[in-house]
């Protein structure tokens, strides 16, 4: 699952998957803006066939929290 998340993030943030890691966060990554955020949510929903609620979006602000939320949902 981690690899698939990295692939999606790499796609959206225009990075190499190897550059994505535990410290990738909205705060540390300038291209992870609010627009990229909704794009990311949509891409994750599509890839993992899940639905998030607004409450989830607001807390999925770094790699680890995204991974946790997805583990919980799948």
């Amino acid at each position: 699952m981690e690899e698939r998340i990295k692939a999606i993030m790499a796609d959206i943030f225009l990075l190499d998957p190897s550059e994505i890691g535990a410290n990738t966060s909205m705060e540390s990554l300038p291209q992870w803006d609010s627009l990229a955020h909704i794009d990311l949510i949509g891409a994750l929903e599509e890839e993992f066939d899940v639905m998030f609620e607004v409450d989830d979006f607001e807390h999925m602000t770094d790699f680890q929290s995204v991974l946790n939320k997805l583990t919980e949902k799948t």
């Binding site: 796609d11 959206i12 225009l14 609010s34 627009l35 955020h37 909704i38 794009d39 949509g42 891409a43 929903e45 599509e46 890839e47 998030f52 609620e53 607004v54 979006f57 607001e58």
Partner: protein, 637 residues
């Protein structure tokens, strides 16, 4: 998982990888037709359209092939719409367009339009998207409707339309680019519930009235087109269109998965604005117009009629017929015994189409690519404007390989899905519909008859005489503005400079005394060809420059262009001009016009690369007018 399972699962991934490789290869080779084909296949077969679009955009930016036609889109919106960029750029590749986007800031549409020096105007867009949420144009119509809107229909409709009109008027003072304006959508939960659709005071009534007003405004202003957003919602469903979470969280009401449909809908406009609307549909017969194979099942045995699957084939024929009525020229390319195939049309009572609906027929056993080349030549149409539909993958592949400019649609095996497959991309959409369009199939038939006469007639002059041509000369007027603009977009062969003019531009020009405008309608013994000639000339002191001179291919080789040149020469002489002249700017397709000026005793005065400027000194004898042309001149100057 067994190994055979794995093989099946990996199949689509292999295809996706192959599609991705072909699109990258095509982009770096810079071959426009291959880019179009590869991008279309990649997008069609992609598991995730959003990811495919992002990939295509990246690949296109990296390769940056200069062969694509640039198209600059300025986007103004009242909500977050940035996610349409990737799919719009990606789908643009399917038409050979390099779409570039200027995205105005969130909800900045007023500022962008009102400031003469705004980023939008400096960008010089080829088209502007004005995607404003209906609540922004008309809060009274949606919120508090029962207390503020219900008994104010007339005033509200007037007010909302004038809000839009004010902005459009300002925009037009700074920019002539075509505008795609989102129409107002119906509310999902009307205030009167199920009564709304029946009630005179329903929101539906009011919104329809406002949209009518916007349509009228669009027609009056010129080059404004209403985008019927509800049509997209109807196709993909409201649940796939609207995302309430993103609306309230990020003011991004359109669901992520809907942007692909939105971009494809916008592309229908971009395609038409770029002059790539398809003009000709070539159909196969067996398993396309009817089920089964006439050579095996017999003239009465093929499936076409009131029961499934025959009724689905009838529905497909009706869709094809509707395209014909809209001005699309039809043709047949079929591998069959011609007598059998034609007998289905004349003897099988289930058929909706008749043989006369087709302007060209190629029914034999030769390759279909050859048939299509012949059809293109006979009808005088470019391959880029042709669509070929067939159920047989091998035939589709043969045509695609031999004639990559032709758009090939492979029909699904289920006949009930064929209409959607044919019409989904709106390939035949045009932004104008004139009397000439409605009569095009007939016009092509007339031309066929004229061609026949030409081969029967002895000398060329006898032939011209036998046509009994009457030419009606008028200026560009409000009545023929749409047709005149359409001709600048569609005429690629007999066109000296191939400059394109919008209705709005022509409207300005016809009221400018520096410009002389002329249209020519040709009536002959076979019927009325409609307006088939246009000339725009600009007076520069005592020199009249022919900025644009064009003629529909329907009347090429009849000597009628002489009447247009004569008209300008006479006018120039009357107004004391020294000379008239014009440039020939060669393109791949305008070969028929190259010797226009030479044939009329103009002389070369300047060359710039392949471009040549010709002039006719007006002190020379007049241009001889052939005596077989009867001219009715109602121009005013």
């Amino acid at each position: 998982m067994s190994s055979s399972d794995r093989a099946e699962v990996s199949q689509p991934q292999d295809d996706a990888a192959k599609n991705r490789e072909s699109v990258v290869a095509a982009l770096s080779a810079g071959d426009v037709d291959q880019i179009r084909i590869a991008a279309r296949r990649f997008l069609q077969e992609a598991a995730s359209p959003a990811r495919a679009a992002r990939f295509l955009r990246g690949a296109a930016e990296k390769a940056a092939p200069t062969e694509l036609k640039p198209f600059r889109v300025g986007i103004l919106s009242s909500f977050t719409i940035d996610m349409v960029h990737d799919p719009l750029i990606a789908h643009g590749l399917t038409e050979g367009l390099a779409v570039d986007i200027y995205q105005a800031g969130y909800d900045q549409y007023h500022q962008e339009i009102l400031s003469p020096d705004s980023g939008l105007y400096r960008y010089e867009p080829d088209a502007i998207l004005l995607a404003v949420d209906e609540r922004r144009w008309a809060p009274e119509v949606y919120d508090n409707y029962l207390t503020e809107g219900i008994d104010q229909h007339t005033e509200l409709a007037e007010m909302v339309v004038s809000r839009v009109r004010d902005l459009i008027t300002t925009l037009r003072q700074h920019c002539n680019a075509p505008v795609l304006l989102h129409a107002l959508s119906y509310p999902r939960h009307p205030s009167l519930g199920i009564l709304d659709s029946t009630s005179e005071s329903g929101q539906r009534q009011l919104i329809a009235r406002i949209n009518d007003g916007l349509a009228e405004l669009a027609r009056d202003a010129g080059a404004i087109y209403l985008v019927d957003v509800d049509a997209i919602v109807q196709t993909i469903g409201y649940a796939s269109w609207y995302d309430s979470r993103l609306d309230f969280f990020a003011r991004s009401p359109i669901a992520r998965s809907a942007f692909d449909a939105l971009a494809r809908y916008y592309l229908r406009y971009l395609r038409a604005l770029s002059g790539y609307s398809r003009k000709c549909l070539i159909v196969d017969l067996d398993n396309t117009l009817w089920g089964g194979i006439v050579g095996e099942d017999g003239i009465m045995g093929v499936q076409v009629g009131s029961e499934y699957p025959g009724n689905a084939f009838v529905a497909f024929q009706q869709a094809v017929r509707a395209l014909r009525d809209r001005g699309v020229v039809l043709a047949i390319a079929s591998k069959n015994n011609p007598a059998d195939a034609e007998a289905v049309f004349t003897e099988n009572p289930g058929m909706a189409l008749t043989l006369d609906d087709f302007s060209a027929r190629e029914i034999h056993w030769e390759p279909k690519s050859l048939s299509i080349s012949r059809i293109a030549e006979k009808l005088n149409l470019g391959l880029r404007h042709m669509v070929f539909v067939d159920d047989n993958p091998a035939e589709c592949a043969e045509v695609e390989q031999a004639l990559p400019a032709v758009t090939v649609i492979r029909l699904p095996a289920q006949p009930e899905k064929m209409v959607d497959t044919l019409l989904a991309d709106g390939l035949f959409d045009a932004l104008q519909f004139s009397n000439e369009d409605a009569r095009r199939a007939e016009l092509y038939r007339q031309r066929d008859a004229a061609e026949k006469l030409r081969t029967e007639a002895g000398s060329l002059e006898d032939y011209y005489r036998s046509l009994e041509m009457k030419l009606h000369l008028t200026n560009v007027t409000a009545d023929n503005l749409a047709r005149a603009s359409q001709m600048t977009q569609k005429t690629t062969q007999f066109n000296t400079t191939t400059r394109i003019y919008t209705e709005a531009e022509l409207d300005t020009l016809r009221n400018d005394t520096q410009w002389k405008t002329l249209t020519m309608r040709v009536v002959d013994k076979f019927g009325d060809n409609g307006i088939v000639g246009l000339m725009l000339a600009k007076c520069d002191g005592d020199y009249y420059d022919i900025d644009t001179m064009l003629m529909s291919c329907r009347v090429i080789n009849r000597g009628v262009e002489t009447a247009m040149l004569r008209w300008l020469a006479d006018l120039g002489r009357k107004e004391g001009a020294r000379a008239i002249g014009g440039w020939i700017l060669p393109t791949k397709r305008n070969v028929p016009v190259r010797d226009l000026f030479e044939r009329h005793q103009f002389e070369i005065v300047q060359k710039r690369g392949d471009d040549v400027l010709w002039q006719l000194d007006l002190s020379e004898p007049k241009i001889d007018l052939p005596d077989w042309l009867e001219i009715q001149d109602t121009t005013e100057v």
